[in-house]
Amino acid sequence: MATKIFMEALSPTMEEGRLVKWLKNEGDAVKSGDVLAEVETDKAVMELAARGEGLLRKRLVNEGEAVPVGTLVGVIGAKDEDIASLVASAGPTKGSQTQDSRPQTADANATPAVAAPVAAAPAAPAVAATPAAPLTPAAQASPAANGGRTLSSPLAKRLADEKGLDLSRVSGSGPGGRIIKRDIEAAVASGSSVSRPASSVSSLKTSVDFQDLPLTLIRKTIARRLAESIGPIPTFYLTAEFDLQRASEMRAAMTAMGDDYKVSFNDIILKATATALAQHPEVNAHWLGDHIRLHNRVHLGMAVATDDGLIVPVIFDADKKRMSEIAIESKALAKKARERKLTPAEYTGSTFSVSNLGMMQIEQFTAIINPPECGILAIGAIEDKVIVAADGSLETRKRLRVTMSCDHRAIDGAVGARFLQTLRRMIENPLMLVY
């Protein structure tokens, strides 16, 4: 049985390979595993190994030519085997140029009537020799011999998966070359089998902490086009004005109970933001180049100005912490930041950030996204403002302006706006924070 030699994917990302150098000539004897050629991938020059035994009957690609992965580049077969149809199946490729029409090759026998008697007679003993030993009947059977499929028992498939083996590189000792348990065990024992390259899909993960979304075509296009327009992070800004009257009353009531119960407006905003983020994983996200990671845990970065510059310590699992815990932790982190005592673990891992310049009487501003995060919330000053109430009367209320910077590659306008709606509900009705 002839074995087709294909251009193989020798690196996880390889789409085509350039045949640098043939190491076997047509007519050379080859064993399974022999290096047939050197192939340049997108990363390095690799070896293309034989997956069958016999003679290298045909080289279908010239040295220096690049062909897509999966292209037939040669044929291994018995000396007199008719490989004409195999060669023909390669189609009118560049390979046809390489035919050097050696007179002794059987594929020269274009007319089957002539070829049949010649090919059949010598082939018979070779075929008979194989089934004579059913224990290892088809160790040489290649995937190509089974129409490109690797035959394996379900158990072998599962074991290979668990051990990270590439089944196409394990030779099967079962009927028809079926890979069975003992072949996997032998491959593991010999360590000969090449580990399966990590596929690009495997970088997409799920865990209880996050969920990775593959990039849809539209998402890719949005990312590319908008980045061209505005820079590496195509940012847009959403500004909203929240009513802080109730939050202010709540804070006043808590402060009246004594210092133990005192929280800052910033603590209320942090708590509200974290709670809202827990409901909007689509903004609690990381842009990771080829996919978006939605985080199921909320690790809130809080920008702190220090004499050396800006640093963003993290309140981990902020949505699960009580306001009093956030108050204590944010105060401690800010102190450490100013004393330059933060450890890297304390300022990495945030999933979304908040920056507050309200204490410096900045009415509103835009903050710069801290990548790979996709959003940051800029908190302005709380001010008394006259507003038109629902009944048309004029009222003086505590008001706060926030501006959310959004990475448009991951977050669309409406998505960011919905998050701000939730945040408004939290901040304007602070009892929602205990709901």
Binding site: A133, P134, L135, S153, P154, L155, A156, K157, R158, S173, G174, P175, I180, K181, R182
Partner: protein
């Protein structure tokens, strides 16, 4: 522990249950005066009298129906068929009356009846009297089917069958009646629906029941000499089947041979293979192979009969095949 025959084990089960519960009675052809065609009911007429050990005419459908009626009014009949080949005539009562009474009466009538007798081939009884009916009977919702392969199991399963409030089919074996095995003096029951791992080994499972348990054990003995260790799963009850026992074993060994006495097409083995492919797909290292009777009426000629029956050699060959060992 006393060594007694399969026949005596069944006799003990009947005697103990008849002593324990006076609603239990035995009925069938030659069960009384003649002490049973295979002497399973030996001494029972003498001990319990004609009201409880009833000789019937040769009318399988008739006395099966009498049994169903008796069960409906609260007795606990044990109906003996001289062989299950004769029980074909009674199948309307077994399938249409006994199996469905609880269901069709909306739960008003229990059906605490046992139909028992030898099943499958003996020696040179020819085509009409050498048939294994387990797949026919186990096909019917409403019936329970047990097939004990040892004296111990025969006694424990028959006692449980008599105590069960549903119709239970007990498939015995003509060639098993003389088989001796250890049976304790003290009383015991074997729950219906529970298989037993009769032999432990991690290379291949043989799943079987009834008469074929003996063949499986012989195969396990023979293969052990070649270092091949067999898990022998004796189903004991064919319906309801202990699927977990099957899949636990196959997940351990990764290979299975299903051995049954009956024919291949729509046989019990088909159902077992289905359970295996459903629950053990990723654990299988080879296709499951079935060993069964040839797809033909049982020949009378000795040599032909032998070649038609599932046997030790065929079982060993099947095990080697699923293990990819050259025979």
């Amino acid at each position: 522990m006393p060594l007694i025959t399969y026949r005596d084990a069944l006799n003990q089960a009947l005697r103990e249950e008849m002593h324990k519960d006076d609603r239990v009675f035995l009925m069938g052809e030659e069960v009384g005066v003649y002490n049973g065609a295979y002497k399973v009911s030996k001494g029972l007429l003498e001990e319990f009298g004609e009201m409880r050990v009833v000789d019937t005419p040769i009318t399988e459908l008739g006395f099966a129906g009498v049994g169903v009626g008796a069960a409906m009014v609260g007795l606990r009949p044990v109906v003996e068929f001289m062989t299950w080949n004769f029980a074909l005539l009674a199948l309307d009562q077994v399938v249409n009356a006994a199996a469905k009474m609880l269901y069709m009466s909306g739960g008003q009538y229990n059906m605490p009846i046992v139909f028992r007798g030898p099943n499958g081939a003996a020696l040179q009884l020819s085509a009409q009297h050498s048939q294994a009916w387990e797949s026919w009977l186990a096909h019917i919702p409403g019936l329970k089917v047990v097939a004990p392969g040892t004296p111990y199991d025969a006694k424990g399963l028959l006692k449980s069958a008599i105590r069960d409030d549903n119709p239970v089919i007990v498939l015995e074996g003509e060639m098993l009646y003389n088989l001796k095995g250890e049976v304790p003096d003290e009383e015991y029951l074997i729950p219906l629906g529970k298989a037993e791992l009769k032999r432990e080994g991690d290379h291949c499972s043989i799943i079987t029941s009834g008469k074929m348990v003996l063949v499986a054990m012989q195969a396990a003995d023979t293969l052990a000499k070649e270092g091949i260790k067999i898990d022998v799963v004796d189903l004991r009850t064919i319906r309801p089947m202990d699927v977990e026992a099957i899949t636990t074993s196959v997940k351990k060994t990764n290979r299975a041979v299903v051995l049954e006495e009956g024919w291949e097409v729509c046989g019990i083995g088909s159902q077992i293979v289905d359970y295996i492919q459903r629950d053990c797909f990723d654990h299988l290292d080879s296709p499951v192979i079935r060993v069964h009777q040839a797809d033909t009426p049982m020949p009378y000629a000795k040599a032909l009969e032998k070649s038609a029956k599932p046997d030790l050699a065929k079982t060993i060959a099947a095990v080697k095949k699923v293990m990819y060992i050259e025979a």
